[in-house]
Symmetry: C2
Subunit: 353 residues, 2 copies
């Protein structure tokens, strides 16, 4: 929640409207632009600062380069009672994933669970956004994805064959905010490395290795290094199986076919995702389940703390607090980002926030 060069705060409504104007200016149909702007703003409201408006210049660049299909035929290409494969037709990832989540929810409504694989999508922002969609229907959501750039190597290897493939799981509670886990399978997200570089800070040991296996702590040399997986070979294993489930199973990119979308604005990324919706009352009455989740959260929060620890956190709790704060008080925008977005607004001939 800390902003390095804390600039001004902007109301979410104006923030969202600006994103919409920018996307419309580069040719996105108005209703699609509004949907994407809404989800990107939600990312920023929840504090996923590397996944919201921060990405707008990159999205605009890719759209202008023809790397995103602005008139995609997003559709189910194969399906059975509770499973489906969605083809995103190289549309914006947000639109593809919103569609896929709806399919999963509809399947789960009828069959108890819906598992939807996605191919030919694009970067869709934070994993939590999609895992949380089933919450609106009192369902549990699980999301997996293949990332859009490889920053990890197999355990013991030096070739970047794996992305930091994330998982998100969202579980509703009664009075507590939903439990929302959203994590990369690397020790830190690559965004933290870029942030350290921007700030001219060194990285701690344990984030990255160089190609000879030595700790790499200078973020300016990050291109020459690999991010470490959580738990060593365990995080490698998680990234690998998430890649199989979200990528290869869906005919999406994974491994050497992954397109680094930071370096290439044109080649379709063929991004793969999975969204699972799970209908709670197939297993347990909804209200007693939510009450039990509250109970577990309270047990955890009130349990004894280690010396020096103020509060035991629950996954998603901080993002929820950020959402409430930013909805009430606006979303902060660092000065550097503000300058870059003002420039973008100028280029597109639209009004800034």
């Amino acid at each position: 929640m800390t902003v390095p060069d804390a600039g001004s705060r902007f109301p979410a409504r104006e923030w969202e409207a600006f994103i919409g104007r920018a996307l419309i200016a580069v040719g996105m149909p108005e209703s699609d632009a509004r949907s994407v702007a809404h989800l990107m703003t939600l990312a920023d409201l929840r504090g996923a600062d590397g996944h919201g408006i921060f990405r707008l210049p990159q999205y605009v660049r890719r759209i202008r380069a023809g790397g995103i299909n602005l008139q995609p035929q997003i559709q189910v290409v194969t399906e059975s009672g509770a499973a489906a494969l969605v083809d995103g037709d190289n549309g914006m990832g947000h639109l593809v994933m919103r569609f896929a989540a709806q399919v999963a929810i509809t399947k789960a409504e009828a069959a108890g669970v819906g598992w939807v694989g996605v191919r030919r999508s694009n970067h869709a922002g934070p994993a939590a956004l999609y895992a949380m969609m089933p919450l609106e229907r009192d369902m549990i959501g699980v999301y997996l994805a293949v990332g859009n750039a490889n920053h990890m190597a197999p355990w013991g290897g030096t070739e970047k064959l794996l992305s930091t493939n994330p998982i998100a799981v969202a579980v509703p509670a009664l009075e507590e905010p939903a439990v929302v886990l959203d994590m990369a399978t690397s020790v830190v997200a690559y965004g933290r490395v870029k942030l350290a570089a921007q700030r001219g800070e060194q990285m701690p040991d344990g984030w990255m290795l160089d190609y000879r296996g030595r700790p790499l702590t200078d973020p300016a040399r990050a291109e020459d290094g690999i991010l470490l997986p959580i738990g060593g070979y365990k995080g490698y294993g998680l990234s690998l199986v998430f890649g199989l489930l979200a990528g290869i199973l869906n005919g999406a990119a994974c491994g050497r076919s992954t397109v680094d979308f930071n370096k290439d604005d044109v080649m379709p990324t063929n991004t793969g995702h999975v969204i699972v919706a799970l209908k709670i009352d197939t297993f347990t009455p909804l209200k007693s389940f939510k009450g039990a989740v509250d109970g577990f959260i309270k047990d955890i929060r009130s349990s004894p703390k280690m010396e020096g620890v103020d509060r035991i956190g629950i996954p998603g709790e901080r993002s929820h607090a950020t959402l409430l704060d930013r909805r009430a008080n606006g979303i902060p925008m660092p000065r550097a980002l503000q300058a870059s977005l003002r420039r973008l607004a100028g280029e597109l001939g639209i009004e800034f926030v």
Copy 2:
């Protein structure tokens, strides 16, 4: 694959027959005993040495104490098209999970995916056994469970409210062995701590903390410590959401209701699991999928290695090699275990292996 006090090797058939005799001797119906013996032996064949015959004395103790129902009515209690809740009626976990996996496979055959939650089960051995069951039908398997003893605390806390809740994922390949990830959400499994204690060795930093948050390296003091989750708060988050999915969603034990089955032989453990079966050809033609998995495995295995690394492993590869070795040459049994099982055989009045 190393055996500390390498005793003799025994053929799997005799090994399995001995387990069967022991279970029959304590009153398990013959066909159930054979099924459990088969799965326990499979655990040993695959090198999950802490989860096979090693557990037999404990299982026998619990059965004799009345802590396991030998005549369980294992059944689906609620279901929809693709999801079901199985009640294990406090039967042996192996029987309950074999039943649940069959339900998941049958659902997936019809609906593309089957998600089966389980309650009132018991310790069922290694996670991989059940994740691998869908492989026989060319399906992907995913397994989650709540462990039978709490060894982890919430991140920043000192109360053991969480088990090292494991995940297993099994994905078939074409010519390569299936990819089988089987991992606890802790840095190491508690079995490794017990092994260090047995051998009188110290543990490295990073396995456990004491209640004040200081590294705990003496395994004799393990009772006073907590196992560290992989990736710090990330592994805590994974353990928590797996507990919600495998435990609370199914009305099974989780958190303070977890029964430590190492200390209590009588109280039903109400163990919760999840097994998911996923029909591959809903998404991608089976053969091309398996070929693509092979391709990814080959890319990884042939990729450049760090200095000092001989081979880049694939999850499940070592267990598969162990299986081939032990099927051909017998399963090794450390002398201490052999002594304890000979004693058990004497007590039960049955022949040893």
